[in-house]
Structures are given as C-alpha cells and as structure tokens.
C-alpha cells in the first residue's frame, strides 16, 4: 500500500514515524504508508454522511426535505450512502406550493418509489384552504409562504429536525448559518444568537417545540453538486437540461410561460433554448439561456458562469438585499 508522492514537499518536510522511509539519495521522493488522499468530493461526501448519521442518532423525530430539485437529489444519494443496507431513519417531506413544474412532481414521485421510502407532502393548498396563508392573487409567487406550511407540518408531525439541501455559497445569509441551525418554537432563525459550531461536534439538543435545521451540504458549491450528480450518475428532472420553451423577458430575467405567467402588454413571447438552474415556484423561477443538453455541458457552463445561482434564477431573492435573511428569520428553509 506504499505510494510514492512524486511531488516535493516544499512546505513542510515529513518528519516523525514516516521519516525513516525517505530514501537518502532521492530527496524529492517521499514514501509513506498512506492509502490515499481523499479528493474534495469524497471529503465533502464523507462530511455529509457523518452529519446525516449524527441527525439520525441524536434527533428523536427527523425528516428530510425533498423537493425534487438537484440539491435534495444529492441529499437522497447521501442518505442511501449513510444508511443502506438499512432503511432511512426518517420520512421524506415535500412542501408543495401547488406551483411546481409538473416534470418535477412526476420525478419526485418516481424517485421516492425507487427508494421505497415514505414521502409526506405538506400542501400549501391546504394552508390556503385553512386560511393560514392568504394570497393577494392566485398567481403571485408562493415561495415566501412556504414557511407557514413548513412550520405547520413540523408541528403536526412533531419533527425535531429537518434535513435540507441549502448551501452556503447560495446566499450571504446562508454563508453565516450553521450546519446544525437552531430554530426557536416559532421556527425562527436568529443570526446573532447561533450556537458556536466547532470541529465536527454538532449540538442537536432542543426543547419540545423547537427544532433544528440541518444542512449536510453546507460546504458544497453549485459546481460540486453537478460534479457529484455526474459522478454518481444521478437522474435529475429534464428541466435542468437545455430545452425549447416559451419565455418572456421581465426585469433582469426570463420567465417561463405557464398558466401562472402570461405576457403582459408589450411583452413578447420568445421560444428560446433554456435550462433551469433551480426548480422552485413556477411564477418566479427564471431559466437561463443555455445550450447545455448534458451534465458535462452543465458542469462546463457552471465552471465559468458569472452570475450566482439565486441571482440568476430567483426573482424573489432580488427584491431586497436582505430578502433571504428576512425569510429565514420567519422560518424559511
């Protein structure tokens, strides 16, 4: 199992127990008994598996939030790696805004069936019927109200932890959020009052009524997610790949035409090659122009892209500089 590192260790010569293995006449070759160095995806993967297992061990009644989007698709593969050959120690839960892309819902149900795990659908339609969510208009974005349905579902099922696919590179409020993020009994996040998080020693303890949001892929970037999807050969909904779609230009982005979005006066419907970088509420999730019809091409585009994922694709995140922070404070993912 000895390997030869063919690169001189300029910064810090190896000392101690392995020093004896250095061959005298070849100072640039260091021989040591190291199996191998994990690549960055393997390191991130192992970290995420460790986090998921900590949730399973320390929380009494966790759930995993699965939307059918690429980040939660990665979460499901990580859960398989963490818990197989056993079953997942938690149900999956989707907060269904009723504004989802039909392709994504179809994919969600198929994936859940493949896994043989349990899915809970928390429906915003129900929250609306119960009068818990009041909308100004039928077609407005439902993203901000997901928190109500999510918090209701957490209360109804008594979840003490929800595993989500948020990443720190998405947004600056996320950049400051812990991997184990404490929420009070109102589901609120208080950025000034977060638990210190050191090493990989996570504190998942809560009082009844409080909960923890856990983000195992906090340290992944959009590019990491795509590379992982490629490496693992994971299926994703087709709308992530370039396809022809009727869109209009509104604000700084493109909006897909659907029963929720119709051209206003003066807006021209165009048929463009587009793909989605995120899959959310149809009324505010913008596709980007793209010719990437395969994962390799998406990775190539992501590697050189110049706009953040949310900046390009979520109109609701552009309304104010603090919109994500405000929503998180109210209980958002």
């Amino acid at each position: 199992m000895d390997v030869i590192l063919n690169q001189m260790d300029e910064f810090a010569p190896v000392a101690g127990p392995v020093a004896g293995l250095v061959m005298k006449n070849e100072p640039v070759v260091i021989k040591r008994r190291v199996v191998r160095q994990l690549g960055h995806l393997e390191a991130l993967e192992s970290e995420a598996i460790h986090i998921m297992r900590e949730v399973a061990a320390e929380c009494a009644n966790p759930a995993l939030l699965f939307s059918g989007g690429k980040d939660s698709i990665v979460l499901l593969r990580l859960a398989e790696k963490a818990f197989r050959p056993g079953r997942f120690p938690f149900p999956l839960m989707h907060v269904d805004t009723g504004h989802n892309f039909p392709e994504v819902i179809e994919f969600r149900d198929r994936r859940v069936k493949q896994l043989g795990e349990r899915l809970i659908v928390a429906s915003m339609e129900d929250s609306i019927k119960q009068g818990r969510v009041v909308l100004r208009s039928e077609n407005q974005s439902r993203n901000p109200f997901q928190s109500v349905t999510l918090l209701d579902a957490i209360a109804e099922h008594g979840f003490d932890a929800c595993i989500g696919g948020a990443r720190r590179d998405e947004e600056k409020a996320r950049a400051k959020e812990r991997i184990f993020s404490f929420r009070d009994e109102f589901g609120q996040w208080d950025p000034k009052n977060q638990r210190p998080e050191l090493w990989d020693l996570y504190n998942a303890r809560v009082h009844p009524g409080e909960n923890i949001r856990v983000f195992p892929i906090s340290n992944w970037t959009e590019l990491d997610v795509w590379e992982y999807i490629s490496r693992e050969g994971l299926e994703v909904p087709h709308i992530y790949f370039a396809h022809r779609r009727d869109v209009i230009r509104r604000g700084s982005g493109l909006l897909p035409i659907s029963h929720l979005v119709q051209p206003k006066e003066g807006e021209k419907v165009e048929n463009l090659m587009v793909r989605f970088r995120t899959v959310g509420d149809m009324s505010c999730t913008c596709p980007v122009e793209s010719a990437a019809v395969g994962i390799g091409e998406i990775i190539a585009e992501t590697a050189i892209t110049r706009i953040t994922e949310r900046g390009a694709t979520r109109m609701d995140d552009q309304t104010s500089e603090a919109s994500m922070e405000l929503r998180k404070r109210e209980g958002y993912f």
Binding site: R36, K81, K176, W199, R205, I307, T308
Partner: protein, 429 residues
C-alpha cells in the same frame, strides 16, 4: 465553451483556511483579491455591492462588503461571527472561514480555526507585530492549525522595503518561538495592488518565495489527520432485520484517524473486548481497506455489545480511557462558568455529564501570563481539570484533534458554552 478545456476537476483536494486580522489590516481586501483574481466573484454580487457602496456615498466599490452580510450587521456596522466563502482553482477547492478581527475575537477565531488546515495572519507592514498578531498566533497554536502564513500586507505603503519585511519576520519569529507552531511561511504583499497574492506583480522582485495562491495550492493538507492511530467512534448500529440482511449488524461511523483493513484486530472501548474486522461495507460494495476521513460501515467477527459512543481502535495503538483529565477550555457563552454545576460534554459520539473540578489557571492572552480564577467568562481561555460521569476514550489534542476535542453544553439552555482540548496526561509529555 473552449475556455474550460484545460480545467481538470479530478482529484482536486479541499483546503480549509482561516483569515485572522481586522479590516484595518486589509483583510477584506485580501479576501476580495483572492476571490477576484481567482475569478470567483459573480457579476450580480459585484453589482449588488457597487449599488450599496453608491447608496452609502462611497466613491469606489467597497470590496469589504463582499464579506459582511446580514442586515443586523449592516445596521450596526459590525461583523457577526464566522462567514464561510468558497472558491476554487483548477488545483484545489478552498473554504475560507472569515472571522472578524476585534469583537469576540477568541470565540470566533477558535470556532473558525477548529476546522482549518491553515491560518493567514495579517500584519500591517507599517505597524509591525501588534498585540493582536500575538493573540492570533497564540490561538492558532492552541487550536493546532498545522500551517501558518504571516501575510505582511500593505507593502506598498512602506516602499516595498525588504528591510521592513525582514524586521517584521524576525520579530514575529522571536515571539512564536515558545509556541507550538511548526510551519510558518512569511509573504510580503500588497492586497490592494495584487502583489504576491495571486500574481507576483513587479514591485517585490527581491522576494523569491511563493505567492500566497501558490502556497495555498501547494501546502500539503494530509498532515492534519493523524494517519497512525485507527480511531472509529460508532455513530449508529445498523440492523436492517430484513430477509436479505437478516443477521447483518454493522457499525456505522467515520474513520477519524488512521486506517483499517479487513482482518485487523480491533478493541472496543471502553469495554476492552476484542475482535477482528470482517467486512468494510460501503454503498459501492465491500472494500479491503479504508482510511480517514472516510465514512464506512464495519462488521466484526464476534457478536459483541457495541453501541453509539463506543470506539473501535487497533490493539496496537491504544488511547486513554479515563474519567478524569485536564484540558484547555475556551469559554464561548455569555453565561459564565458556574463550577458548582454539572455540564454535558460531547466528545466524539459520546455525551456524558461532567464537572469542572478545578481551574488551574486562566491565560492572559495578551501577555500569556497565568492568572488565578474561580470562574470563566466569554472569550476566556483556561487550563482546567474535569471529572466525567462515564469514562471517555481520548487522545491528547496535539496528537489527535478528533479524539482530543470536545464541546461543553449547558443542559438547561442546550447552548454550546465552551470548547475543550484535552491536554497530554502528566508524564506523557
């Protein structure tokens, strides 16, 4: 798409580093420079901070806005806590733990440092080594960050003088002589002009060492993990009890240090029972051997009573198993230590009740003097003796970070109130 032809993503490693210093030292400019020159700033981020800069009446884009975020912070003009930034070059992926320099520096720096492979300590070339630089160096040594970079910044303001640089290096070197810092690199730079950050620039021709980016890409990252001692804290026991996996009993966890192969003899601690590794199970199938920090599932030859909190080790490399030990404690909570109370300790995957039986001394972080103390306040660092209800399986922190670190939890509030690093027991060196 021809731009990316030369980029290879295979086998790139992950380096986590921390930046210590205040805005005055040009820390935000340095981070901005690293992100900018490695093409990691996105257009919408840049336009957002340009917008904010204009709104605040500034003439130029304030790059430091990239690294402060929350509304609460903007209102108060302060930086809360640790923020994480990500960037990548074709060689490596980087995670920056960006911690504010002044407020609650100890708590924040210890938190950010706990997962770092490297620390960059910023020094303003005009001011030289300050109390703050010493504090940062001490904390880096306390938390055992393997690599230190002393970034002597603002060289443009001292005429790029080699003498100034060398004087600062010598002064810093004298100061850290007593500390446990092995790998220190000194780099003169101007983050503002970009000299020696990513590009070499044309102003520091006398400096023949690596640029900061060069160093970040080349510094070895595998030294941090102890590769000698196999340590496997059990997270979960997997018993599917399905038809297919009827008798399967797997121990799930992450190899915190060392490596393991099928057939190796292992001891279960604290019980002391021994067995041999039968299988190393992964989602991709069984493997012959595995290495830290892989997450795996192990099965053993014998039927032993093993549960979460137990640790598998190799019989040839035994850790300590005791109910009493000494530790360096960094107090993180606004609520001071009450030595009459019991606290919870989370160490590896084990949670136990503990009392802090004695405060040996509290450290004055500016002078490194030892003071007597009967309580600890937020940001205090002290050497303490602890007694725990159930034995812990540990190594001294300098030998093994994963099995030498713990957090202290207040059972009433559930808050994490302190971070601990176990000291070598007396006579152990």
């Amino acid at each position: 798409m021809s731009v990316i032809e030369n980029i290879s993503f295979d086998h790139s490693e992950l380096l986590r580093f921390i930046t210590a210093g205040s805005v005055d030292d040009g820390k935000s400019t340095l981070i901005g420079r690293l992100l900018h020159d490695s093409k990691s700033i996105f257009e919408d981020q840049l336009s957002a901070i340009a917008h904010t800069s204009r709104k605040r009446g500034m003439e130029a884009v304030d790059l430091s806005l990239l690294t402060d975020g929350l509304q609460a912070e903007r209102e108060q003009g302060i930086t809360i806590d640790v923020a994480y930034r990500y960037f990548a070059t074709p060689k490596r992926k980087f995670i920056i733990a960006d911690t504010p320099g002044h407020e609650q520096y100890t708590r924040n720096m210890v938190t950010g440092a706990s997962t770092a492979n490297l620390a960059i300590i910023l020094i303003d070339a005009r001011k030289g080594v300050l109390t703050q630089s010493r504090r940062h160096a001490y904390l880096a040594s306390l938390v055992g960050i393997p690599h230190l970079v002393v970034a002597v910044n603002k060289m443009d303001l001292v005429g790029y003088s080699q003498d100034v640089f060398e004087r600062i290096c010598q002064e810093f070197h004298r100061f850290v002589a007593g500390l446990n810092l092995k790998n220190i690199a000194y780099i003169p730079m101007s983050a503002l002009n970009g000299d020696m950050v990513v590009e070499r620039g044309s102003n520091l021709g006398w400096y023949k060492g690596m640029t900061l980016m060069d160093l970040l890409e080349k510094v070895p990252v595998d030294h941090d993990i102890n590769l000698e001692d196999f340590r496997f804290p059990v997270q979960l026991v997997c018993r599917p009890q399905t038809e297919e996996w009827h008798d399967f009993r797997g121990y799930m966890g992450r190899i915190e240090s060392g490596s393991i192969s099928v057939g190796d003899e292992v001891q279960v601690l604290p019980s002391g029972l021994t067995s041999r590794i039968r299988e190393i199970v992964t989602y991709e199938g069984n493997v012959e051997d595995a290495v830290a920090p892989q997450s795996v599932t192990l099965t053993i030859e014998d039927h032993l009573d093993i549960s979460r909190g137990d640790m598998l080790v190799k019989t040839s490399q035994l850790p300590q198993v005791t109910k009493e030990f000494d530790a360096m404690l960094c107090w993180l909570s606004e609520q001071s230590l009450d030595s009459r109370r019991k606290y919870l300790i989370k160490h590896t995957t084990r949670v136990v009740k503990a009392v802090i039986s004695r405060i040996d001394y509290r450290l004055d972080i500016n002078t490194l003097n030892h003071d007597a103390a009967d309580t600890l306040k937020m940001n205090d660092i002290a050497r303490v003796s602890l007694k725990v209800h159930q034995p812990l399986v540990w190594d001294a922190y300098p030998r093994n970070h994963a099995t030498g670190s713990f957090i202290v939890i207040d059972e009433v509030t559930n808050n994490t109130v302190a971070a601990g690093m176990i000291c070598p027991s007396k006579g152990q060196g």
